[in-house]
Symmetry: C2
Subunit: 235 residues, 2 copies
């Protein structure tokens, strides 16, 4: 039906400026849209991707949020990334065709799915898509490497500040309030992401609160002085 197909098309999606089609021509976007499958709504805790599974598609968060996570051999969980709407997950599967971490919904989640076979065939003919996939991979790589040096060189407060400022920026890009938001992830998830314990995350947040930089009520965060947080990053 006309309406449904309009809803499905990337061209009319609110995320198109952020998502994979961001830098594609209208024509390329239309063709890509033909390969995109829309997933049904998943509930919090649902697993979109499982570590070890064959990589059969790219997944894009459409609404809600997710974490890319796994467990170390000692059973400890780690969190590689949090995924907001428009962000592509599962790219690490390009390494050997298998995923190495789970993708877990943090709240009710809708997503799009681009089967790998169709993506590869489209990349053959669409140079823009080719460039975009490379850009996406490069961006994820850059981000992972930046996070790596951050975890090893910056102290707990610096890392938490960086996390909050980065999240704020990403929300802003999505036209969501950048200074007044709800964390969809637990303190434990944040800690596992930043290489800290949940107690240290809580204490650092407490320090920001005491300094008057943020307002914290459970998972609701208000950034009162984002610049003070950003200043922590400059060291």
């Amino acid at each position: 039906m006309e309406l449904t197909s309009t809803e499905l098309s990337c061209g009319s999606c609110a995320l198109s400026r952020i998502c994979l089609p961001a830098n594609l021509s209208a024509r390329e976007t239309r063709i890509l849209a033909g390969a995109v499958e829309r997933g049904r709504e998943l509930q919090s805790g649902a697993r979109l991707i499982r570590a070890g599974a064959r990589m059969d598609a790219l997944y894009v968060v459409r609404s809600g949020s997710a974490k890319s996570c796994g467990v170390m051999n000692d059973g400890e969980e780690y969190v590689r990334a949090f995924n907001l709407p428009g962000e592509v997950a599962g790219l690490e599967g390009f390494a050997d065709g298998h995923h190495t971490c789970d993708l877990v919904a943090l709240e009710p989640l809708r997503y799009c799915r681009i089967p790998l076979g169709r993506l590869e065939r489209l990349m053959e003919t669409l140079p823009g898509l080719r460039r975009e996939v490379l850009r996406l991979l490069g961006q994820s790589l850059e981000e992972a490497q930046r996070m790596r040096t951050e975890v090893s060189m910056v102290d707990a407060r610096g890392r938490l500040a960086s996390f909050l400022v980065d999240l704020s920026r990403r929300l802003e890009r999505r036209n969501l309030p950048p200074t007044h938001f709800r964390l969809s992830m637990s303190r434990r998830d944040i800690a596992r992401h930043l290489g800290l314990t949940l107690e240290t995350v809580s204490r650092s947040l407490g320090a920001f609160r005491s300094a008057g930089w943020v307002e914290v009520r459970a998972r609701y965060i208000k950034l009162l002085q984002p610049k003070a947080l950003a200043a922590l990053l400059a060291h």
Copy 2:
């Protein structure tokens, strides 16, 4: 001259099983080789890539070794990776067309260079090359994410053990002695790579020596009990 062109061709390069052509057909390798430029020998300390520079090519170490590094805003150096022969550097530039870290020779270094324009044109027609570049990016991403969780979850000795075991594996793949090698990087470089201080690296190596797991004489390392080191990783 015939000889020179033979030397230049990827097909006859000793690294072809490890390098970019690893999974390419003979035909694709031949075509790719036509786009590869051979750099002159650089001396230790020379900078192949500069952070901030426009990404104009992919660089591959042909002999010697290099580090991918940069400086934090507080002036501290960090080391994202060490690059051995056959390893491609500068992939993070795909993010926005600019490099974000330097590539510095750790010893006399020879390299190959694949201009980006030619690479992109070749990817248009060579599906194998396309897949290989994606694989390479995926692998770098996976590696960066793995390192990130390692830095945040594993203690100093575990990280150093992981570094030595990984290096050993990479040397082995290159038909170099995996248990008896010379480190081309300083303790400081290793520390900056693992998110430690050089003193901690030295002390951890000392602990391995005391345990009879390694023999250390300056930069010469002999792995006496690689399995003991590998066991540290399993936690």
